[in-house]
């Protein structure tokens, strides 16, 4: 993904959809340990038993920025349930993310993690940003989305609920 110049911004970016691609042969999500904004370590394996929305993003990526508010709404809609959102930033630092999140209307309550050398995104085979995976309670990748989405769309929430009920 890239930064789009001002003249392109004059035109509309593609509308954010809601379809996630089901993975026909679910594979185990590669484990990782990354730090959040407060240098607290998070390991994926510690979240077995929860459905995880794992999003790879960067502040300079326009569709990443566009979908983050919907990730926050989704996170709020599933508050207190077995669901967690991790937004894994690519090759940026805390200041860049902090500056970006500070400008949002609603400050995200989900966790930002820092993949400073893109090792985790490589392990997931991420080709471009944003790319998002939905991981089931057993730690398998079940759905994928390439490009921005409206994650609080009822269809996405339905898929998350189904995974939670498995």
């Amino acid at each position: 993904m890239l930064t789009i110049p001002a003249h392109a911004a004059e035109r509309q970016q593609p509308k954010l959809g809601y379809m996630l691609t089901a993975i026909s042969n679910p594979t185990p999500a590669p484990d990782f340990t990354l730090e959040d904004m407060d240098a607290k370590k998070f390991s994926l394996k510690d979240y077995r038993g929860k459905v995880i929305l794992l999003n790879f993003w960067a502040t300079w990526c326009p569709p990443c920025r566009r979908e983050i508010p919907s990730m926050e709404r989704l996170n709020q809609n599933f508050k207190g349930k077995d669901f967690v959102v991790f937004a894994v930033n690519q090759m940026e630092d805390i200041d860049q993310v902090f500056t970006y999140t500070g400008g949002l209307e609603v400050y995200p309550t989900f966790t930002f993690l820092f993949d400073r050398d893109s090792n985790v995104s490589r392990a997931y085979g991420v080709q471009g940003l944003p790319t998002t995976y939905l991981i089931d309670k057993k730690g398998n990748i079940r759905f994928r989305a390439i490009g921005g989405r409206e994650f609080d769309h009822p269809e996405v929430e339905k898929q998350i609920l189904q995974l939670m009920q498995e």
Partner: protein, 196 residues
């Protein structure tokens, strides 16, 4: 509306699935920014849409300087004809593409491959650069609603026109699209505004 739209209809999309050869009508729109004069080509057909946005060299320099590339590498990529590209699966089926199959053809009819992200990354790795984003991924398998953005780089004299040929596969059939008479962003926006 801040942009001017020029609407064309092309009969340039050909199904490459042998033995049949199908001709499809692609819709091509060209937008010109009233502010910068820069052009955007947008084509949609057979479940695939592509948008190519002229990027001026200073913009490219700014992007890669911000990402920490050394000055000589920044200048090298700014010397290419760079487009912001947005590609999208607009179908209800699986779609795939490979940038290594894409070509551009100069006015002498000579065809050249589009430089892929993998080729750039290999060169960057040799120069000690680990940054791996911003370029259009070299291939993709798109589910319904998937889309992607990234830079597409073409090595051609900035003042020369060319035809851009791209392919994608939908439901097992390979399709080809062609955008004619494309041009690079001018070296300087203030002295040489682009015209369609």
């Amino acid at each position: 509306m801040p942009t001017t739209t020029i609407k064309l209809h092309l009969l340039k999309i050909i199904c490459l699935c042998l033995p049949c050869t199908q001709i499809h009508a692609a819709e091509l729109n060209i937008y010109k920014s009233n502010e910068s004069g820069l052009l955007t080509w947008s084509s949609k057909d057979n479940g695939f849409s592509i948008e190519l946005i002229q990027l001026n060299p200073d913009f490219v320099r700014a992007v890669y300087s911000r990402h920490g590339l050394p000055p000589d590498e920044v200048e090298r990529i700014a010397g290419y004809c760079v487009f912001g590209s947005i590609i999208q699966n607009t179908s209800q089926q699986q779609l795939s593409y490979r940038v290594s199959d894409w070509r551009y053809v100069d006015k002498n009819g000579k065809s050249y491959p589009v430089k892929t992200k993998a080729q750039w990354l290999e060169e960057w790795r040799n120069a000690g650069i680990t940054f791996a984003w911003t370029l259009l991924p070299e291939s993709g398998d798109f589910g319904i609603g998937d889309w992607q953005q990234g830079f597409t780089t073409i090595q051609i004299d900035r003042n020369k026109k060319f035809d851009f040929i791209y392919t994608w596969t939908l439901d097992g059939k390979k399709y080809q699209g062609k955008i004619e008479n494309m041009s690079c962003a001018p070296a300087s926006l203030s002295t040489d505004p682009a015209t369609p």
